[in-house]
């Protein structure tokens, strides 16, 4: 009886939900866009130097792969909640579009530390897209508990923090482009987790909403597959030497292959009746790619990469299965399991990188080993700490009531954000 009038008139449900849930969004978004256009008008110009056609198309290929991973892969990776598919995919696209414009400017200003004109070329676009990925990763921890205004705010803070981390790391800690970008996974994961820590928790009895249905979980598989296919491009794109690139592609490829196999095997193994859990597959399949990221150009032979993929897949699933209890005790709610997809495998990758670097230096100059280990460890922990500090800050700001966050009862429900007649009925 209740369903009929709601079904006919979609916005009637507004009376039941909060009115003007995120009323300031149009104003905010328009202001931001106008500001961005003005800054672009005043401070940017295109790179006019002539360039080689081959290089140009090569860079363009990489950009396409990275955008595909960000827009399709990460967008659909986070669609396993039954009532949150639309919001996950669409908010992801919005954050990516806004984030790229913001990062291009930010990177340009931070690099020259003055207000000269920024020259835009394809590689600055590529860097910006890859940096913007950090927001899409952290969003996985908070999606369903925040509205788009809060996400935009998070994006602004997180991208500023990440660009600063990269610039400081490059200037003070000898990080190169590749390594500073590869720590994106740990940075984003811990940023998201600490931000999520400050937000109100969903009540314990909210099982219904978080349960998956068959077809949303299939959509999440689509995202996983796209990430899986294009991951070698992501890991190899910032390396300069051709030989390093080649090694990076091969190592990533093998690590991903092994972690996919491990994911399915172990998922069946840890279940009491040997059944495979789709959530494990979605995330653990990618763990190998994350773990091999920092060290992908240093690993000398495929078997090492494969071993790394095996370990990454293993810890990813074991954590999903057993450590999530720990998280509940710590009072952190991780919507899409970002910690076991990106957090722990990323840490593992960072440590492997430190070890391999030390190993490499050991053959040439034994006295340098300690220095090398210290700076590399410093770089890794710097990324993690920056992520945590700014995550806490963001979470604190996001928990204010002025952003009109969704009611706790409406968590993981995209319905309040969308108009459509049939959304009121069961779907």
């Amino acid at each position: 009886m209740l369903v009929e009038p709601l079904h006919r008139d979609g916005h009637r449900m507004g009376s039941k939900y909060q009115q003007s849930l995120w009323g300031c969004l149009p104003l905010w978004a328009l202001l931001l866009e106008v500001a961005l256009i003005l800054i672009f008008l005043l401070f940017t110009s295109y790179d006019t130097s002539s360039k080689d056609q081959k290089d140009l198309l090569g860079t363009f290929r990489v950009i396409q792969d990275v955008i595909l991973m960000a827009a399709l892969g990460l967008g659909f990776l986070n669609t396993s909640l039954r009532r949150h598919c639309w919001s996950s995919v669409a908010f992801n696209l919005f954050l990516l579009a806004l984030g790229v414009q913001f990062t291009v400017l930010l990177d340009g200003f931070l690099k020259q530390l003055s207000l000269k004109k920024i020259v835009i070329n394809l590689s600055s676009v590529q860097m910006a897209t890859m940096s913007a990925t950090s927001v899409l990763i952290s969003a996985g921890t908070v999606l369903g508990k925040v509205n788009l205004v809060q996400l935009v705010l998070m994006m602004l803070i997180e991208l500023t923090a990440f660009s600063t981390t990269r610039i400081v790391g490059k200037k003070l800690l000898n990080m190169d482009n590749h390594i500073s970008m590869m720590y994106i996974h740990v940075f984003a994961a811990y940023f998201g987790l600490t931000a999520s820590y400050c937000l109100p928790k969903p009540p314990k009895e909210m099982k219904q909403e978080t349960q998956m249905a068959t077809s949303p979980s299939l959509f999440a598989m689509l995202g996983t597959l796209f990430l899986w296919i294009f991951w070698p491009s992501f890991n190899s794109s910032l390396l300069d030497l051709l030989s390093e690139r080649k090694k990076a592609v091969f190592n990533t490829y093998y690590a991903l292959a092994v972690s996919a196999v491990t994911a399915i095997l172990v998922s069946a193994l840890v279940h009491s009746r040997g059944k495979i859990n789709m959530i494990h597959i979605h995330n653990a399949v990618l763990a190998g790619g994350v773990a091999v990221g920092p060290a992908c150009y240093l690993i000398p032979s495929p078997w090492l990469a494969m071993l790394l993929g095996l370990i990454a897949g293993l810890i990813s699933i074991l954590e999903a299965k057993y450590l999530s209890v720990c998280f509940q005790m710590l009072n952190i709610h991780d919507t899409y399991g970002v910690h076991y997809t990106f957090g722990l495998p990323g840490l593992l990758g960072g440590i492997i990188y430190v070890v391999l670097m030390a190993h490499q230096v050991m053959w040439t100059d034994i006295s340098m080993v300690r220095y090398q280990v210290l700076t590399n460890l410093g770089a890794l922990s710097f990324s993690v700490i920056m992520g945590m500090v700014f995550g806490l800050l963001t979470g604190f700001i996001l928990s204010f009531k002025i952003w009109k966050p969704p009611y706790v009862a409406n968590y993981f429900n995209g319905r309040p954000f969308w108009t459509s007649p049939y959304l009121a009925a069961g779907y």
């Binding site: 369903v3 866009e33 639309w86 219904q208």
Partner: protein
């Protein structure tokens, strides 16, 4: 007419094969020496990745964008595949004939890209008549529209010498107005009230989003594929990229602004977010600043959202044109904006004023040809022998497809959904 579709399709394909046998050969080069040959081969394969991107857009992008109807997913993706496959063969022939001055056509990667473009035109028009036509009608429309398109494209590109690198005018505006003209002639008064099948369900909209994302991701390739190599191509890529990004932000803002309760509308997100790519097409490779392309993208996005909100209902009720996918808002209006933007870009640039007239003429010619061709095509399609679906069977796959019966799984799924729904309402 049981075998009508099969016979027409086979007949068309046999004709294509014969025509290819007579008129088409591979691109070969009169080069001596192995060294120069190998370098040259590399050069001609340079465009292959861009071609692949466009191929994904045509087959996956356009196909999935149209799957938003709840009972019409098979036809959207399937007929899309049929039209595109036939269209690119016919496009190769017609464009090859026009540009080769009667000699044999030499096929290279560039011809394949142009053939895909001509298929895109038909797919845009297909969006306007989606759900109201039979496969046979679509085959006929493909043949006629590509012939008209190739003629117009030749007139604009080779005779008027207008610049339209991302084909805002020759593909998008042309395809949209052609489709609208056909839809106007095929108007069914009984469908004036919303047909019960003409709506989406949650999952069909997610499928449509897959198409949107494919189109969004690969649009820079679409706009830069036939640009001059080097600086121009680079500019086309970056301009398109920023235009699309700005467009997304404005569309979200305006969608939320116009809907009651500040909610978002999935139709806007699926379609209007691409308007920036369409609108920047004509001036993508010109010397414009990044801010200019962002401005074009934002304006196109906003106009597109406004179009979906106010113009489409007006078209259906007042103008008697029923535009199923809203191609007028996604391709028509942004295409026109693109044409105007290219005139503006030339006006502020240092290039000669002569070319402003050329751009205006190109825009006018494209739209006029499209409407003329569309009206004639519509009249041909109205001949009652092509087996169009009855009014009550519109937007339904089961007329032309073998559709699986409901399985136990579906029942379970639905039960599960309604069950949980009630619990939440209480």
């Amino acid at each position: 007419m049981r075998f009508q579709f099969s016979l027409i399709a086979i007949g068309l394909e046999v004709t294509m094969i014969i025509l290819f046998g007579v008129f088409v050969e591979y691109e070969t080069d009169q080069i001596t020496g192995t060294q120069s040959l190998s370098t040259h081969m590399n050069g001609s394969l340079d465009l292959y990745p861009l071609f692949q991107d466009i191929h994904v857009m045509i087959f996956a992008g356009f196909g999935f964008v149209m799957t938003f109807l709840k009972k019409y997913g098979f036809s959207s993706v399937g007929i899309n595949l049929l039209i595109a496959a036939l269209g690119l063969q016919w496009g190769t022939l017609v464009q090859g004939y026009l540009y080769s001055n009667g000699k044999k056509t030499r096929v290279g990667i560039r011809n394949m890209i142009n053939a895909d473009f001509s298929a895109a035109t038909v797919l845009i028009s297909f969006g306007a008549v989606l759900g109201k036509t039979s496969p046979v009608q679509m085959l006929i429309m493909t043949i006629i529209e590509i012939a008209v398109f190739a003629g117009n494209e030749y007139a604009v590109g080779a005779r008027l010498l207008a610049s339209d690198v991302g084909a805002s005018m020759t593909i998008h505006a042309f395809g949209a107005y052609f489709g609208l003209a056909v839809a106007g002639v095929l108007y069914r008064p009984t469908l004036r009230k919303r047909h019960p099948n003409e709506e989406s369900v949650y999952h069909s909209d997610i499928f449509a989003m897959i198409g949107t994302l494919f189109l969004w991701i690969f649009w820079p390739s679409f706009n830069s594929a036939i640009a001059d190599p080097g600086v121009n191509q680079h500019r086309a890529m970056v301009n398109t990229y920023f235009s699309l990004a700005a467009c997304v932000v404005s569309v979200f803002a305006f969608s939320s602004l116009l809907e009651p309760g500040n909610r978002l509308n999935m139709v806007h997100i699926q379609n209007a977010t691409l308007a920036g790519g369409v609108a920047v097409g004509a001036c993508a490779d010109m010397v414009v600043h990044p801010y200019f392309s962002m401005l074009i993208g934002s304006i196109a996005g906003i106009v597109s959202v406004l179009g979906f909100k106010y113009l489409t209902p007006l078209f259906t009720t007042k103008l008697r044109i029923h535009d199923t996918c809203g191609v007028h808002n996604l391709h028509g209006l942004p295409g026109v904006i693109g044409g105007l933007a290219s005139i503006l870009a030339i006006a502020v640039g240092e290039t000669d004023r002569h070319s402003m007239g050329r751009q205006a003429a190109a825009l006018f010619t494209s739209i006029a040809t499209a409407i003329g061709g569309g009206l004639i095509t519509g009249l041909i399609l109205r001949i009652p022998v092509w087996g169009p679906p009855a009014d009550e069977d519109c937007y339904d796959d089961s007329v032309y497809w073998k559709v699986p019966q409901r399985t136990e799984h579906d029942y379970h799924f639905q039960e599960y959904g309604s069950h949980s729904h009630q619990e939440i309402e209480i």
